[in-house]
């Protein structure tokens, strides 16, 4: 991956898209995807991620800018000549054809002979463990099976790029988690460049090499999942990925990699300045719930501690969620592992909690 340029396998170069000529759905998109990379476009609905996918597939044209595939501009190439496999949200399996005929379709339009076709179909079906289903109709299959067939159909003609548009949205939770694993495994073992669109952040984190977080027609952050989660670059990403505690305040002073933030309630805390640059700027400080600690034995000596009032204790099995009132924020969540020495706090009690200054990120204040 890289920020922009033309060295990637799939490149969006200053792409803009407007449907009505008045508003931009995609604003100045620059994105480079390396060969074999699994990239996920993540964002709320209306953020422009599906539009980007459709432009790459050729079903929408870019209003401005260039899309390159293997260094060749593809803006004027119709979808059927792009050779990009695609898995659709509702699978789009042809209902009047059997599974075998569905898979045969992309091979037939490429003029392949019968024996080659049968061989490839068999391999693709075996790949998704559906070898015995070639003569079934899509309507006779369960959702998960249809999903596998859609995947096999997108891969059977051996495209170099596969696009997936929320392919797991219609499956139940357990099956979805299983398919996440299977898709990632397949994509990596075949070395296919995959562009995956979803609004499910767990899916994005567990499957991808890189995640592009979309909002308001722009990529807010493009990073590997761990970086994205642990080092969000702005408030939107911090808020959108995972759970997040926020405290609003004003930057008092910035010294190296430490910012002194005076919260609106008057308390002063240390934070890591991320996209605040000068004193006097308003900022939103973000701390992950699992980085907040109340057990003194586990707190590092450099940790920053504050007083908190326990509002609610929620038992969730493997973890405890404790809702606290911290610096005026009544929805401050502390997440702690259900360990033998973990304390179950009573609502109403006042406790001392702490966190490492490096886990406390001073971000922009959203408008």
């Amino acid at each position: 991956m890289s920020d922009s340029g033309t060295d990637g396998f799939v490149v969006f170069d200053r792409v803009q898209k407007s449907y009505d000529g008045e508003t931009l759905v995609v604003k100045d998109l620059n994105l480079s995807i390396a060969k074999g990379e699994f990239l996920t476009m993540l964002g709320p609905s209306g953020s422009g991620k599906t539009t980007c996918l459709m432009m790459l597939a050729g079903f929408e044209t870019a209003t401005h800018g260039e899309i390159l595939l293997d260094r060749k501009p593809i803006n004027n190439i119709p979808p059927h000549k792009r050779g990009i496999g695609m898995v659709f949200q509702n699978y789009a399996l042809f209902p009047h054809m059997t599974v075998g005929e569905n898979l045969s379709f992309p091979l037939e339009v490429r003029g392949m002979g019968k024996s080659v076709r049968e061989q490839k179909i068999k391999r693709a079906l075996d790949m998704v463990q559906m070898g015995a289903f070639a003569n079934r109709r899509p309507a006779q299959l369960s959702g998960g099976q249809q999903q596998r067939i859609a995947l096999a159909r997108a891969l059977v003609f051996e495209p170099e790029v596969v696009l997936m548009d929320e392919p797991l949205g219609a499956l139940d939770k357990q099956l979805r988690e299983h398919m996440q694993f299977e898709i990632t495994h397949l994509a990596h073992s075949l070395g296919i460049t995959t562009v995956y669109v979803t609004h499910d952040q767990t899916e994005a984190l567990t499957m991808s090499d890189n995640v592009a977080v979309f909002d308001d027609g722009r990529i807010q952050q493009l990073a590997p999942p761990d970086v994205l989660y642990e080092e969000p670059q702005n408030s939107f990403v911090a808020q959108f990925i995972g759970e997040n505690n926020t405290l609003d305040g004003v930057v008092k002073e910035i010294k190296g990699d430490t910012a002194l933030v005076e919260l609106d309630t008057g308390e002063v805390i240390d934070a890591r300045p991320v996209n605040v640059t000068r004193a006097g700027e308003r900022t939103r400080v973000s701390i992950r719930p699992e980085r907040v600690e109340s057990n003194k034995d586990r707190l590092h000596e450099d940790a920053h501690t504050v007083k908190a009032e326990v509002m609610e204790f929620i038992y969730m099995g493997d973890v405890f969620r404790t809702r606290l009132k911290v610096a005026g924020n009544e929805n401050f969540i502390m997440k702690s592992r259900n360990a033998p020495d973990q304390v179950r706090h009573k609502p109403g009690s006042v406790i001392e909690i702490g966190w490492m200054p490096k886990d406390c990120r001073a971000l922009d204040m959203p408008a």
Binding site: A92, F105, V109
Partner: protein, 433 residues
């Protein structure tokens, strides 16, 4: 096995030794279920009863009556019981002997003694006239004189009307002297009985119905095809438009439904006649010579044009309702797999519209095969269809038996076509809306 089942059962149910389930208070589960469902069945029956009665009384019964009329043949049996008995020994070749004429005289006398409205000779005259054109005259003239005939009756009848001396009349009387007849169907198929009583084709210049049936079917096929060719693109366009535009355009498609048939037909006459708008425009533009104005109405062209317009919604609506349910992702999927737009359309989109095409086609074809008004108004001679002939026999020639036979053949033909469609495509795939 039984134990495992019992373990899985609801606690309130118990199992008999025979394996039948019982409810908590010990009644068999099946009868309890029947009781519970009876109320629902009664409600369902009450809901459909009014329509059922209406259909039985005003649809099924008249159609059965009509079909019965096509074989019902009481006239000869009622009017000439003695003659028919005397004719049993007749050889069928020459004019019958005195015994038959004596019986005929007895029948005429018996008929004259009946009250006027029960007299059977009038209907007999009409009935025999269908088979032999002069028969009505012979019977009505003879029936006025026959009461005064004296033996020998043979001469008296032959004097009264020459037809009594023709063996053909006697053959007809003997053949139709049964309560059921096939004569109407024989006539409806352009056939007749020859001297031996076997069925032969009519003279060429008297054949009408078979040719008319064929023409009706061909015109219906043409109309169905035209509505498909015109309707398919429109239905497709409507199905991909956003709802608010498609509703607006749908009104234009439905417009034929909302205008009176007569108004529409008059509009066609204004447009299509030889001195009409289209011809005059073409002549005025110099594209056509004034002497060569084209006849576009009161012929087959007129019928086809007008009926295509009238029946178009019946094709567009089922097509539209099927196309609306085909998501655009199918075409996109086909294209993403490398199919050109035309291949994607042919192999992915079109096959999925077949239920709509089938429904629209069956609908338009069945309606047009029995269409009456439009061909009657704008069809002229060459644009007539079989229903116009049926109407003629109902209203003008009053040969209801023949009209019934033609109507029954039409009905059976439609049912056979529907059966064929069901066998080939499956009626459950019909999507009418």
């Amino acid at each position: 096995m039984a134990q495992a089942d019992a373990g899985a059962l609801d606690q309130n149910a118990s199992v008999e030794p025979t394996g039948r389930l019982r409810t908590a208070d010990g009644r068999p589960l099946k009868s309890a279920l029947r009781r519970a469902q009876r109320r629902r069945k009664i409600t369902a029956f009450l809901l459909v009863t009014p329509l059922l009665v209406f259909i039985l009384g005003f649809f099924v019964f008249p159609i059965a009556q009509m079909m019965w009329r096509s074989v019902d043949n009481p006239q000869v049996v009622r009017a000439l019981p003695n003659t028919l008995e005397a004719l049993q020994t007749w050889d069928g070749q020459d004019v019958p002997g005195e015994a038959v004429f004596a019986a005929l005289h007895a029948d005429f006398v018996a008929d004259a003694e009946r009250p006027r409205r029960d007299q059977a000779m009038g209907p007999l005259a009409v009935r025999l006239n269908y088979e032999l054109s002069a028969a009505r005259g012979a019977i009505s003239r003879t029936s006025r004189q026959a009461v005064n005939f004296e033996a020998p009756y043979r001469e008296a009848f032959l004097d009264s009307h020459r037809l009594w001396g023709q063996p053909e009349l006697w053959r007809i009387i003997k053949r139709e002297g049964r309560p059921l007849t096939s004569a109407y169907y024989v006539a409806a198929l352009d056939r007749e009985f020859d001297a031996d009583g076997s069925i032969v084709r009519r003279d060429e210049n008297r054949r009408i119905y078979v040719q008319l049936f064929i023409r009706t079917i061909l015109m219906s096929v043409a109309i169905t095809f035209l509505t498909f060719v015109l309707g398919f693109p429109i239905a497709y366009y409507l199905s991909i438009l956003p709802m608010r535009y498609s509703s607006l355009l749908m009104i234009c498609v439905l417009l034929p439904f909302w205008t009176s048939l007569l108004v529409r037909t008059s509009a066609w006459i204004v447009l299509l006649q030889q001195q009409g708008v289209i011809n005059s425009s073409l002549v005025g533009l110099g594209l056509m010579d004034d002497a060569n104005r084209v006849q576009m109405i009161y012929n087959m062209t007129g019928t086809i044009v007008a009926m295509t317009h009238i029946l178009l919604p019946f094709m567009v609506l089922p097509l539209y309702s099927v196309m609306r349910t085909i998501p655009p992702s199918y075409m996109r999927a086909a294209k993403s797999m490398g199919a050109t737009p035309s291949t994607a359309f042919r192999r992915v989109y079109f096959p999925q519209t077949l239920p709509g095409i089938g429904a629209g086609g069956v609908l338009v074809f069945i309606i047009s095969i029995g269409y009456y008004i439009t061909p009657a108004l704008v069809g002229g001679q060459s644009g007539r269809m079989i229903s116009n002939e049926i109407a003629r026999h109902m209203q003008q020639s009053l040969n209801w038996g023949l009209a019934a036979a033609l109507g029954t053949m039409l009905l059976v033909g439609v049912l056979v076509l529907y059966w064929l469609y069901n066998r080939l495509v499956g009626a459950d795939s019909l999507k009418l809306g």
